[in-house]
Symmetry: C2
């Protein structure tokens, strides 16, 4: 099959590799129909050291089940399925508590070979979600966002306990930030301030439900949001992961409020003491999103057309065009590339 | 009147000072019946630089209202009252949300002159809580804990959302840690592991509901708690405030769990990234306790004898003996000193 491999920062190639095969009785093989490039794929695109063998890329996909191991019972060959970016048993204590990304099964993990024609899915029963047969092809981009970016934006809003009447600040205008806006709106937020400075993206944010856009960053952005909100936002959804975004979150959150992070922190230490979190009883939470837990909850509004999270895809490429899709996302020429097979 | 003043680290004196007077129409003057020395009073006892005029000390008291300003309506002269260690209007947006220590009233603040015969109470209606007339004198120590340490321990458990069946780890065997144990038990925790190494204190912790005591600290203590709990405690109540206690909390918390802090952080930066909080979806919260919000909730079980939080007082002193009470607490000769007038 053809698959995407990264050999070092900036060097992405699509090559012919061996087809994956069922290795465990709980595995499935899926023929990919739609996949995409994630903002987080740009981290190695910037920093990956030279690899002897290419590193397989991609963690978001939907496709058709090709083969299942003998212990797989929830899906079978021919089913259209979407997978969470993590694979898990969905039955352990942590999965049952809604933290599938902390699954205690020894085979649990995260996908990293989904920009390819076929993929091996471990723990298929806990990972794959069967989509309705005969679904409209036009819905596939939105359904693909259930694999990561929509569920991740939703996780930010859920962990923050966004509720009717809340004022929410969303930091970051990437796909996750924009879908955090959509999620906050679905959960009833009254006012949603999107902090981002790329107009085409913040325009989509407004379409998803942002009531205000603040392009300023740092102290200036903090002062503006505090003024707009009369002292800060109840809930802050941080969808960037860099330290200045953390500091911005601390600056714009209201006393007694929540900072919910889904941007993977590119720092380890940060302020949590009296002056930042403690003195004002701020809650800090978030983490890798258990998107498998949210698929069933988010699916109906996609199927009935209430929401269209697939709008975050602003270019469709073939698998062979994936290297250029990385470049275009890195150049901010596009927001997010969809791969159609 | 006589009042406690600190002149520099280690130098506590009881001196004659001017009586306080009503200054604002919302003030009250209270004649103190019981007060006490707090673990947090030991911070200046260790580090206060030389003061030209002595710094008034103490923030926990109950007493009898002596005089009220013309706008005070909820209490009057002769009422027995307990005050929260903070004073607030109890009507602003933050107070209504249960974060009285973030009250937005310009006069809101924290008491610092309660180891004295009389005290001026700003915003008396939002600060003083009227106790039943004719209450048994034997209950006064327990009622005094409502001013700070009981409400603070309870805040730790409430912010952590301790609930039936939870496994809870409490870090610290001071008065707040021990009352966090009691609070966790009241909220239904199934297993409560107290991390502390002073046997007389941890014995009281067992009486308050601790099911296990771990005296080891650092990596050894973490390994023991992780083993006892099969991977960590759902909720960790941190009642110390020093950085090693934070690290211990991160070490013993279970994936998807909560670290709730009420020990005032003596650090500003700490790990919050992928390896500590984010990767396992840990929630970090807590802060200065809005104890005013909890008095009504905690009072009945004191009055009917179900709980006896006043057991944290293991020595009773007169006002003139307060300097020696500081010394005895600092030497860990006693846990907490009660001042009887």
């Amino acid at each position: 099959m053809r698959a995407t491999l990264m050999y070092r920062a900036g060097d992405v190639r699509v090559e012919t590799v061996a087809d994956p095969a069922v290795r465990k009785p709980t595995d499935a093989i899926v023929r990919i129909v739609r996949a995409c490039v994630c903002g987080s794929d740009l981290h190695p695109y910037h920093g990956l050291p030279e690899q002897e063998r290419g590193m397989p890329m991609g963690h978001e996909f939907l496709g058709v089940v090709e083969e299942t191991g003998p212990q797989v019972s929830s899906v079978r060959a021919g089913d259209l399925v979407v997978a969470s970016f993590s694979y898990q048993d969905d039955t352990c204590e942590f999965c049952r508590a809604g933290f599938q990304t902390a699954c205690s099964h020894p085979e649990a993990g995260f996908f990293s070979a989904a920009q390819a024609e076929l993929i091996r899915v471990p723990l298929a029963d806990g990972t794959l979600y069967k989509l309705p047969a005969g679904v409209d092809t036009a819905l596939l981009p939105s359904l693909l966002t259930l694999a990561d970016v929509y569920g991740t934006g939703y996780h930010a809003a859920k962990m923050a306990k966004v509720t009717a009447g809340d004022t929410v600040a969303v930091i970051g205008d990437g796909a996750v930030g924009l879908l955090a806006v959509l999620s906050a709106r679905q959960l009833g937020a009254e006012r949603i301030i999107l902090m981002g400075r790329h107009k085409t993206r913040t325009d989509l944010g407004r379409e998803f439900g942002a009531t205000d856009v603040v392009a300023e960053r740092g102290d200036e952005g903090i002062a503006l949001v505090r003024e707009l909100t009369g002292g800060g936002a109840h809930k802050v959804l941080e969808a960037v992961g860099h330290r200045p975004a953390y500091d911005q979150a601390v600056g714009v959150v209201r006393g007694g409020g929540v900072i919910s992070r889904v941007g993977v922190p590119q720092y380890e230490e940060a302020p949590v003491g009296f002056a930042s979190l403690f003195g004002r009883n701020i809650t800090l939470n978030g983490g890798p999103a258990p998107v498998r837990a949210y698929i069933a909850e988010l699916l109906p509004a996609i199927l009935d057309g209430t929401v269209d999270p697939g709008k975050v895809f602003d270019r469709t490429v073939t698998l062979d065009e994936v290297p250029d899709a990385y470049r275009a996302m890195d150049d901010r020429e596009i927001l997010k590339a969809l791969i159609a097979f």
